[in-house]
Symmetry: C2
């Protein structure tokens, strides 16, 4: 606001909310007004939840997941397969794969991808720990679940090279038509991959 019409506390709250992904300046203002309107039901509980998060939540020293226990809920779950590690870029990818409920092994969160443009090398990622885990734990397969972007695939190739000397199977997610997707809206690369990888009906 050019001219101040409200307190600095509120403007500070709006500024911080505007830094969240998905909220711009306008929606941050709406969110702040909504929070202030619901002080007891929303603003105070949010303060408490942030306090708990600041106090208790950390990064799992094994896999890089975020949790309030270390090792995290996934790593310490004895029902999960301990012979396979799924490598993802970010914690959000781990959560997305868990929502799909089709994988019951271990995870490893890299914390990003290799990127020449952004100057991110292997030492900036949670990579040495992955190689160490494959060496120390009884791992039979590494499933590379990086994004299907240039940086994601570069990173996947790099990890494959690094694991070359280890006796471990390296796999990747399948490419193909998204479930519920319409062919007309799909890019040529995806369609070509889906044709090449066609399966008996």
């Amino acid at each position: 606001m050019n001219q101040r019409v409200t307190g600095v506390e509120i403007e500070r709250l709006i500024q911080l909310l505007a830094k969240l992904p998905g909220l711009g300046p306008r929606s941050a203002r709406r969110a702040a007004l909504h929070l202030i309107k619901k002080k007891e039901q929303l603003l105070a509980p949010l303060q408490a939840a942030i306090g708990d998060t600041l106090e208790k939540v950390g990064i799992c020293s094994t896999c890089g997941n975020i949790d309030s226990v270390d090792p995290c809920t996934v790593c310490s779950d004895s029902r999960r397969d301990r012979t396979i590690i799924c490598v993802v870029e970010e914690v959000g990818d781990l959560w997305a794969l868990e929502r799909a409920a089709a994988y019951k092994g271990q995870y490893h969160v890299l914390g990003g991808t290799l990127s020449a443009i952004d100057g991110i090398g292997p030492e900036d990622l949670n990579l040495p720990k992955l190689i160490a885990r494959v060496g120390e734990e009884n791992i039979a397969e590494v499933l590379l679940a990086m994004n299907a972007t240039v940086d994601g695939q570069t990173t996947a190739h790099y990890i494959t090279d690094q694991l070359d000397s280890h006796n471990v199977k390296v796999s990747r997610l399948a490419h193909g038509v998204p479930v519920g997707g319409e062919l007309d809206y799909l890019d040529e690369g995806t369609l070509a991959a889906a044709i090449k990888a066609r399966r008996p009906f």
Copy 2:
């Protein structure tokens, strides 16, 4: 998430963020991960800003604006015209009008509109205080700046009736073509209003 993959603290944070306007479950997860990733730069400052807001921010007893002082920054600004009151539905409308920087009078926030469907009557709004202000203060004009919706306009008519016995001019915002708007995309009602209210070029 069906199966827990992270701490209850984080899930609580996501649940609360998902209640903000503009954030759904998916964007709330992204926002929570972003906050946790930037604990020092974002999560801790947000906790402090919420604390300040909870402690200091309240509703202006004169106009209904939200501020950390009472009367609010707008009401206590001696440079503003004290003979005109602009009536708005919500605090966000007051802020929007202030950003337009074309009005330098007082405000009055109703806190909603009359609504038969939602069972909101005059006693549920900040209306008696408006009538009292018009009676007690030296008010020459009341500018009704409600939304151009059925409920907004019903409320405007109701207020006009209530102010009938007072010696005060009642005005409303002009209807017309939005600045930068294209005629082809405008509804017939707006175009008809813009033609009726045409001005010499």
